[in-house]
């Protein structure tokens, strides 16, 4: 059979709570060890044990990271989804199944490979048979795909760090799986992996852990959090890394961690920490942001720094708690009642999760406002490649904080909310300093912080706040752009769409010859370069993972009106990380509706 190397998708159907996540990560990491460009997507349920889970592994020499459009190898382990998984398989699919699940695989048009995984597992450890059974499909896949022994050994060792017994047991199961496949299957399935030169600096890491480490290098002093999928692992990573990275000389903690009673309390603590001069942060998902909104407005209006990471899951309401979306963007940008506007940093890679982890604090203190880090479940909870995190290239920016009487005396006519420098950012003093104490308030206040309902004072205050945030535009991370000479079509996107954009771009070019420029927005308010990009292209598509085109809406509101006719929204969300072909087709359809000449 013709062999397709490093270009296939494996879909593994299991039930969660059965240990399949370990098996799947071993497969992913072993291929990564061999230098095969690979990505893994965990589609898991909102449940502890027993509901269906799918893990999608895609190998791609092109570096494509989106889940593939077609499943080439389907592993079926879960009796609850068995029939549907088998039925959905395209003709020609390799179906690997656990023969001990007494369900049929009636597909003459597919290559069906069975193994008595549970029985074999029981023979080496009856107690753990259910979990170890998963290692047999790892063995079967390793044998048929040609995954090296040494890569498997290394991945197993990494998965069960230091637990020698578990390492031996699982290696034995994988080895038996290999033997069975060799002896009983026709292993020439037409797909294989081949080792590639691996950059020895690279490793795989979840976006949430990368962001957590960034926060620690950003000098976080107070983490308050309320557990919510998919953000909990961000907080838990901070908690697990703090003792190793941030212990003081006296052995004490340099960051207080509080598991709050709810999200309202979590954000209240962030506001309190920022008010007192510390670097406070919380992480949550959409439902948490909804609850936090009142405090977000207080921080905006009273000008208190703080950081909130939103790891987006599917809304509205409880929605699909374990699936991904970019549905919170508008809410973050304009959270809370009245006129508000918040700074949002939007990482698209794990490197940026780390960088924005520390940068959020600098931006928050510089602009004396709440700053959002905006990630999503796909970026936050799946593993992505990095060549190692880069050390912050600037010192901590603590903003305009007056710490001494001399500094205070140097300012003529000091007032907490007086715009001394003309940039909309006033100076502040901290509790405990005894310098110009005021009673902070969410009520109307004048330049000295004194209660005021004066119409002119109110209008001037909110105008200055707008000026302050407006001034942040070009001081926030600039967009990452790749511009074609022929500026016919530009695609604007953000966040985890980064994982799909190359493939979308290639599909557009290979099917229509169309060469598109791309512009990845990395912050709100958007950088002036974004406007230039739009101005220079004939047609601009705003591509995002939601229903309504939320960035499109923001651009349409803020761009000069002459650009609006060339702006098109392509927005779609079904909870699954974007498949390139779906979005590419939507882009073509959208463009054809407006500009027929684009479609060749």
């Amino acid at each position: 059979m013709a062999d397709i190397v490093n270009d296939f998708t494996v879909n593994i159907a299991t039930a969660n709570g059965t240990g399949s996540q370990s098996a799947n990560l071993i497969l992913l990491h072993s291929m990564f060890e061999m230098g095969v460009p690979v990505s893994g997507k965990n589609l898991f349920p909102s449940n502890i044990s027993g509901l269906p889970t799918w893990f999608i592994i895609r190998a791609s020499d092109e570096g494509y990271q989106a889940p593939g459009d077609v499943t080439h190898i389907q592993v079926v382990m879960n009796k609850d989804t068995w029939l549907a998984d088998v039925e959905k398989a395209e003709p020609g699919t390799i179906i690997i199944h656990n023969m001990d699940v007494k369900l049929p695989v009636e597909r003459d048009d597919c290559i069906v490979l069975g193994m008595p995984m549970t029985k074999m597992a029981r023979s080496i450890n009856p107690k753990l048979a259910r979990m170890i059974a998963n290692m047999y499909y790892v063995g079967g896949l390793a044998e048929t795909l040609g995954i090296e022994e040494s890569a498997i050994a290394s991945a197993v060792a990494q998965q069960f760090k230091g637990k020698e017994k578990a390492i031996q047991l699982n290696l034995q199961a994988i080895s038996e799986g290999r033997d069975f496949a060799r002896e009983n299957w026709n292993c020439d399935i037409g797909y294989s992996v081949a080792a590639r030169d691996k950059d020895p600096n690279t490793f795989l890491i979840e976006g949430n852990e990368a962001a957590a480490l960034g926060c620690i290098f950003g000098g976080i002093n107070m983490l308050s959090w309320y557990p919510i999928t998919p953000s909990s692992s961000l907080a838990e990573s901070i908690i697990s890394w703090l003792p190793k990275l941030r212990e003081a000389e006296d052995g004490g903690a340099t960051c207080a961690v509080i598991q709050a009673e709810d999200e309202l309390a979590a954000v209240g603590m962030v506001v309190g920490a920022g008010w007192a001069g510390g670097r406070g942060m919380t992480c949550t998902s959409g439902p948490g942001i909804s609850l936090m909104s009142e405090f977000i407005g207080l921080a905006y209006f009273a000008e208190v720094p703080g950081v909130i990471w939103d790891v987006n899951r599917v809304g509205p309401s409880t929605g699909l708690p374990t699936r991904t979306q970019q549905g919170d963007l508008t809410m973050l940008y304009e959270a809370s009642h009245g006129d508000t506007q918040h700074i949002v940093l939007i990482p698209g890679t794990v490197d940026e999760c780390f960088e924005f982890g520390w940068r959020c604090f600098d931006v928050a203190e510089k602009f004396q406002t709440l700053v959002f880090g905006f990630s999503d479940l796909d970026l936050g909870m799946n593993r992505w490649v990095t060549a190692g995190f880069e050390y912050p290239n600037q010192k901590l920016d603590r903003g305009k904080v007056i710490r001494t009487q001399e500094q205070l005396d140097a300012i003529e006519n000091f007032g907490r909310y007086r715009d001394v420098d003309g940039d909309g950012i006033p100076y502040r003093t901290l509790p405990g300093s005894g310098l110009e104490p005021i009673l902070y308030r969410g009520t109307g206040h004048d330049e000295d912080g004194v209660y005021s309902e004066d119409p002119e004072v109110y209008a001037a205050t909110v105008a200055r706040l707008k000026r302050k945030i407006e001034g942040a535009r070009d001081k926030l991370p600039a967009p990452v752009m790749r511009e074609e000479n022929d500026k016919q079509v530009g695609i604007i996107y953000y966040g985890s769409v980064e994982n799909t954009i190359t493939e979308i771009d290639d599909i557009l070019e290979s099917t229509t010859g169309m060469k598109v420029s791309t512009c990845r927005v990395r912050a709100l308010p958007y950088h002036s370069e974004v406007e230039r990009f739009i101005a220079e292209h004939d047609q601009v598509v705003v591509l995002e993972i939601n229903r309504d085109g939320q960035l499109f809406g923001i651009l349409r509101k803020e761009l000069p009106v002459e650009h609006l006719s060339k702006l098109h929204s392509v927005a779609f969300s079904d909870g699954i990380p974007p498949r390139a072909r779906v979005y590419a087709e939507m882009i073509l359809k959208t463009l054809s509706g407006d500009t027929k000449e684009v479609i060749v």
């Binding site: 003081a248 340099t254 207080a256 309202l264 309390a265 309190g272 007192a276 009273a302 405990g432 104490p437």
Partner: protein, 345 residues
């Protein structure tokens, strides 16, 4: 005639250094008496004003931080959420003395969750509830601490039992629980001075009758200024001027009837010497017994100084976190190099 020297406290500051702006509450409001007690107690305890942080939520009571301790930073936050803001501030600056002022709406209704959890963590703060059983700023709705059977001149009788914040605090294991009366300056000052010295959460529930909206005859918070002039009673922009309730100090173990604005009475009983504040069961019994006899027991109900505070439980470094240097906040380049390497291994 020789000038009387200005009296100074132990850190050589005059009381004037502890005062605030003029009050905008209704004339005669008990809350202003409490503000005066706060000024007095902070001055007498000799706490440097800049080392105090005034915290509040929303409501009449929560406006009062503008009227005391003008040299202290403060934060008038959002409704019912003062404890969380205080928690965050306390975590990053454990050297500040946190003084929270709240009301019965702010604490017993919208903020009851944060009240409970601040006690549960033993947040190191003084938490004063200026308790009048009524929402004043929104013009007279019942709060959750109002007695069952309380009846407004117009509108329905309250059929729900009150939430007793002292009982609740004792049950939650709060290390300092006291009840007092806005008119009992001496007792309240003593309690507040003790609370300011206490390490950990100190709850003081202060009965502070509303001069304007506690408008029913039966309630101890009642107001019936213009008998036979009901129209005026409900004209909310008409705020009669009262003289604040006269000071009253009830001797230990005794009770006394206090005349309120409308001539009705509030029966206050002061805990006797035989009360053991180290016994939560005795404290709860005292509250229940007083309740059965239509009395309000005042004094230090429960005290336990042995508990770890929230910041202590976290094992924070000695230096307040806001004072840490960049070197202490950001791990070194070498640490990042090692970290990257550990992931590659």
């Amino acid at each position: 005639m020789s000038m009387r020297p200005i009296q100074l406290n132990v850190i050589d500051l005059p009381k004037a250094d502890y005062t605030g702006g003029p009050s905008s509450l209704c004339p005669g409001c008990g809350h202003d008496q409490i503000s005066n007690v706060i000024i007095q107690a902070a001055w007498e305890n000799g706490i440097a004003p800049e080392k105090i942080a005034k915290m509040s939520g929303i409501g009449c009571s929560s406006k009062t931080p503008a009227y005391f301790l003008g040299k202290s930073h403060g934060f008038n936050t959002v409704h019912g959420r003062m404890p969380s803001v205080t928690t965050g501030a306390n975590m990053v600056n454990k050297d500040l003395a946190f003084l929270g002022v709240s009301g019965d709406g702010d604490t017993a209704s919208i903020g009851i969750g944060q009240f409970i959890h601040a006690i549960r963590r033993n947040l190191n703060m003084v938490y004063i509830i200026e308790n009048n059983g009524v929402y004043g700023l929104t013009k007279g709705q019942y709060s959750a601490t109002v007695e069952k059977g309380s009846k407004k001149k117009k509108g329905a009788t309250n059929e729900n039992p009150p939430i007793d914040l002292c009982k609740m605090a004792i049950n939650l294991g709060c290390g300092f629980v006291a009840r007092s009366f806005s008119g009992s300056k001496k007792q309240l000052t003593a309690l507040l001075r003790a609370a300011l010295s206490h390490k950990g959460m100190a709850v003081i529930d202060v009965i502070s009758p509303c001069v304007t909206f506690a408008n029913n005859d039966e309630s101890y918070r009642s107001y019936n200024y213009v008998k036979g002039n009901e129209e005026e009673l409900h004209t909310v922009d008409y705020i009669p001027h009262f003289t604040p309730i006269e000071e009253v100090e009830v001797p230990e173990g005794q009770f006394e009837d206090i005349s309120l604005f409308d001539g009705s009475t509030l029966r206050l009983e002061t805990l006797g010497e035989d009360h053991d504040p180290g016994n939560p069961v005795a404290a709860l019994a005292a509250i229940h017994e007083a309740e059965e006899n239509d009395k309000h027991v005042t004094g230090l109900l429960y005290y336990d100084s042995e508990m770890k505070t929230a910041d202590e439980a976290l094992g924070l470094t000695d230096t307040p976190l806001v004072d840490l240097s960049e070197d202490e906040l950001r791990p070194s380049k070498a640490a990042l190099k090692e970290l990257n390497q550990s992931f590659r291994a």
